[in-house]
């Protein structure tokens, strides 16, 4: 599957070779046009032992100036419980506590989080069909779900803050975007009396994009077809679980350990009437894996700008 996608990209590059930077799974250093309101509906789904797990987000983006944009997002999913169950912590053979590894999964759909952020483009070098841009971004998220895994996100799982830097280079045949960021999650104090203390996480991504259709731009009515190859990585610390101030042993569960992974996300994108953006992508693990989703996972995003 991976080889097919790489093959398609090489062919696309060879025959057409126009770059595109409207990445489905990362943000470019470019921002929302001034006074335009963008709405993006984001969805992710995968199968967990035959049951559907899905995540949904609605993102609002507004261009305040030619350099600054604000964004807000609300998310919902069936990934979490409201509260950790009674038997989440069990006795470790009389030697303190440990986290139970035999809890039945929950598939209840719940509201997850509110995310507020900004992106500031501080460097812009425009040329004829090319540009180099750099931006900084930051977000703060409120979420109150017991995310019982070490990998932290600012997409609904955790409350916390994050920020980073994005560089996007776009020349005729190549559009590359590089992102490096950090996430500082806040501790979750569960109503069950259990505290989840997460470590910091570092995220990075490398994205490539190509226009495959149309061969020649004629008017705004033409549907554009773009292909993307994105590599997303994350490094995070182990999760510390405490109950009544005592640490519960949790390192017998892979999802609670520190980890580093890289995923490959090939995507196809349709742009209808130069405004409606439809992104379809899948996620394949390349180096180690993420424990907060099952593979393959599928993403579908819809985006529209109101001018």
């Amino acid at each position: 599957m991976k080889n097919i996608w790489i093959g398609i990209l090489i062919i696309a590059l060879h025959f057409n070779g126009k770059s595109q930077e409207l990445y489905p799974n990362s943000e470019p250093a470019s921002i929302t046009p001034k006074n335009a309101l963008g709405i993006r509906l984001m969805n992710e789904a995968y199968s967990n032992e035959g049951n559907l797990r899905s995540w949904h987000g609605a993102m609002f983006m507004y261009g305040v100036s030619s350099k600054l944009m604000f964004n807000g997002m609300i998310t919902a999913s069936n990934h979490h419980r409201k509260v950790l169950p009674e038997n989440y912590i069990v006795s470790n053979n009389g030697d303190g506590y440990q986290v139970s590894n035999s809890l039945p999964p929950s598939y209840q759909y719940l509201f997850e989080s509110i995310n507020l952020g900004f992106r500031y483009r501080f460097l812009n070098r425009d040329g004829d069909h090319k540009h180099f841009r750099m931006a900084v971004y930051g977000n703060g998220v409120y979420s109150n779900r017991p995310h019982d895994e070490a990998e932290v996100t600012l997409m609904g799982d955790n409350k916390g803050v994050g920020g980073g830097i994005i560089s996007t280079v776009l020349v005729k045949k190549l559009a590359v975007s590089l992102t490096g960021g950090a996430i500082k999650p806040f501790e979750h104090k569960d109503a069950s009396g259990v505290n989840l203390k997460y470590g910091n996480a570092y995220n990075y991504s490398l994205s490539f994009g190509y226009l495959v259709f149309p061969f020649k731009y004629k008017n705004y009515e033409q549907t554009n077809v773009n292909l993307y190859a994105e590599f997303l990585g994350k490094t995070y610390d182990a999760l510390e679980v405490t109950k009544n101030g005592k640490v519960a042993y949790s390192q017998h569960i892979d999802g609670y350990k520190q980890n580093s992974f890289i995923e490959f996300r090939p995507a196809i994108q349709f742009i209808v009437k130069s405004n409606l953006r439809i992104d379809c992508s899948t996620t394949i693990p390349l180096s180690d894996k993420s424990y907060i989703r099952k593979y393959p996972s599928y993403q579908l995003n819809l985006q529209y700008y109101f001018f």
Binding site: Q20, E21, I31, D126, G127, K216, N275
Partner: protein, 181 residues
């Protein structure tokens, strides 16, 4: 007969007013940094919101916008630049058609029109008897390379700021557009 006279008077007045406001009739704008039709569309929508723009024809492949101005409306060139930059891109080149109506110009001639001053850079002595195409060479209205080239053709410091300096025989801090033919 009286009615006809009134109609003639109204028509004359209307035409007369148009004559008074006749300035830029059209422009050709090249936008840099644009690589997708969605980006071009953002620029198009931003430009369309300007009250003095009538029609826009775009060559998407070249990112060139052919703009027709509304007759009688005052054209503000900086507003075009601000709209392009607001959409996230830059002006690569901007030329406009202007009816000069027998104007004698020479190097560093300052032409005042509708509250703005147009400074001719790198031009020979000549009479502009009808419509001529002028090219803007200010920072932000052309490429950096072209700006550098033309700023070397004048000793006037107003080209550095786009605002009137000691060099210009006009009030301080007024907008001075720099144009060439």
């Amino acid at each position: 007969m009286k009615t006809i006279k009134i109609i003639i008077l109204i028509v004359t007045l209307t035409l007369g007013t148009e004559q008074l406001f006749a300035n830029f009739s059209s422009a050709k704008l090249k936008v840099t940094g644009v690589t997708c039709s969605m980006c071009s569309n953002s620029v198009h929508k931003a430009l369309s919101s300007l009250p003095f723009i009538d029609k826009i024809n775009v060559d998407l492949q070249k990112a060139v916008y052919e703009i027709t101005f509304k007759p009688g409306e005052k054209v503000i060139i900086d507003d075009i630049k601000n709209k392009v930059e607001g959409a996230g891109f830059s002006v690569g080149e901007l030329t406009a058609e202007f009816n000069f109506n027998n104007l004698n110009v020479n190097k560093d001639f300052h032409y005042k029109f509708e509250g703005n001053t147009y400074h001719f850079v790198g031009v020979k002595d000549q009479t502009l008897d009808k419509t001529a195409t002028v090219r803007f060479v200010d920072k932000g209205l052309t490429s950096k390379k072209e700006y550098k080239k033309y700023s070397g053709m004048t000793s006037y410091s107003c080209i550095k700021t786009g605002k009137s300096q000691n060099c210009c025989n006009t009030e301080a801090n007024q907008r001075i557009y720099h144009i060439t033919l």
